[in-house]
Symmetry: C2
Subunit: 230 residues, 2 copies
DNA sequence: AAAATAATTTAGTCATGGCTAAATTATTAG
DNA sequence: CTAATAATTTAGCCATGACTAAATTATTTT
């Protein structure tokens, strides 16, 4: 109970900075730097504001982002750690809200978006333990570990499957709750088994069988559903 | 499920304003206006900053506080409602942290102090329902009702009891967690039965019997323990 | 290779909510 | 009643993180 050798916890970045770092993490997961415009769109902020913030983050010591004018922005190791901290909070909170307060997966995002910045490390540890240290959140997104590393993602997009291939849905990357509710209707939720029965090379539509129902899905949907790698 | 006739929820006051209103509520519970200095101390802010904020709150339309120079400040009805909203959040959160995450009553305050500003009304409703719409928080403080009225407080301070009087502890108003832990040691927690076996008129010490143990308590403690009114 | 368009950055502004130092007003003591 | 002290307010400043408008740089088209 007594706290010996208490590390003088460094102050947490501001809410705004945490949100910037999180978005930069997400936008750079594909290996490409994040553009000013993309960040502005994701953060609901004007491009000029993004430039200002990026310059500040690059000037911090240690720098949180690497940046050269007109070249987009990437996270430094320090920035990545800070981003993973926020993402861990966010995904644990979403899981917690669904498990203990009966939120549905299309309702949790906004709540977590605000709570993620104010919970203590103690709170984080308590919900992680209470949930049994879950690996994925309600959408199937991987939860960064307590030591702030992101587990290896072994999933492949449904859009990469072809006729007669099948697998378990691991994750649904839906940007808005409307799509999430639609997918719930279709039964396309994590841990569900799915089978591709047809593929149309012209429009990339996939015909899939889920729970005895058949649906024809466009690329806009199939690219956002991730299947367990074989 | 469909939200008809959605009221265009007025934007919530800033975190700072919420904290000011809450402290003003607490400091004026005795009927007296709150002084600039007292507010500054409670809010960990300089008196000059308090004056600035108070003037802003008095200028809002509708005004949240009533204020005349050098006379201290009180809440208007609008300010009181806003204060009760924050207090309801705070006390429901403390209750919820204790009930569902195993926090002890001396650990919850700081966490609730930050969460109270960011939870949604939906979140508030969900935890209130999950807890069975509790009347009091872990310290025994009354929780404002959902329609934002404060229930009538029928308690009397332990310091008002005399030899051979007794009652149940309703509430412990302890400012710091050190005192809370001390009281836990002594068994002086809400819902505990307590009996006064002696009173010293010179130093106002009370001798009390709790759970077969006897303690001599000074006014500094007895004035902070509230007993169920007879 | 220009010209047109798109993306990004700069410059200047604003709101919020702190701060210090100095001035003012109230209260208390002699 | 006056002087000292305490409380409060004013004035001016700063950091944060938005914004708009204008300038600049990159990318596409013709
Ligand atoms: Mn957020
Ligand atoms: Mn954390
Ligand atoms: Mn607070
Ligand atoms: Mn509320």
């Amino acid at each position: 109970m007594a706290k010996l050798l208490e590390t003088p916890t460094p102050p947490r970045p501001s809410t705004s900075i945490q949100d910037y770092l999180k978005r930069i993490y997400e936008l750079t997961e594909n290996g490409q730097p994040a553009s000013t415009n993309d960040l502005a769109r994701e953060l609901n902020v004007k491009p000029a504001s993004v430039t200002g913030m990026i310059q500040k983050l690059a000037a911090e010591k240690p720098a949180l982002v690497a940046y050269q004018k007109h070249q987009g922005v990437t996270l430094t190791p320090a920035g990545k750690t800070a981003a993973l901290e926020v993402i861990r909070h966010h995904r644990l909170l979403e899981t917690w809200l669904v498990q203990t307060l009966g939120y549905s997966w299309d309702e949790v995002h906004e709540e977590a978006e605000r709570l993620e910045h104010v919970i203590s490390e103690d709170f984080e540890n308590r919900i992680a333990a209470a949930l049994g240290h879950p690996l994925r959140d309600p959408h199937g997104e991987l939860i960064p570990t307590a030591d702030l590393t992101m587990p290896l993602d072994e999933s492949i997009p449904l859009s990469a499957l072809r006729k007669d291939q099948s697998g378990k849905i691991l994750c649904v990357k839906a940007p808005d709750s409307g799509l999430l509710r639609h997918l719930t209707q279709l039964g396309l939720t994590p841990n569900t088994f799915i089978e591709v029965t047809d593929y149309s090379p012209y429009d990339h539509n996939l015909t899939v069988k889920v729970k005895d129902k058949t649906h024809v899905l466009g690329l806009n949907i199939t690219s956002k559903i991730l299947i367990e790698g074989k």
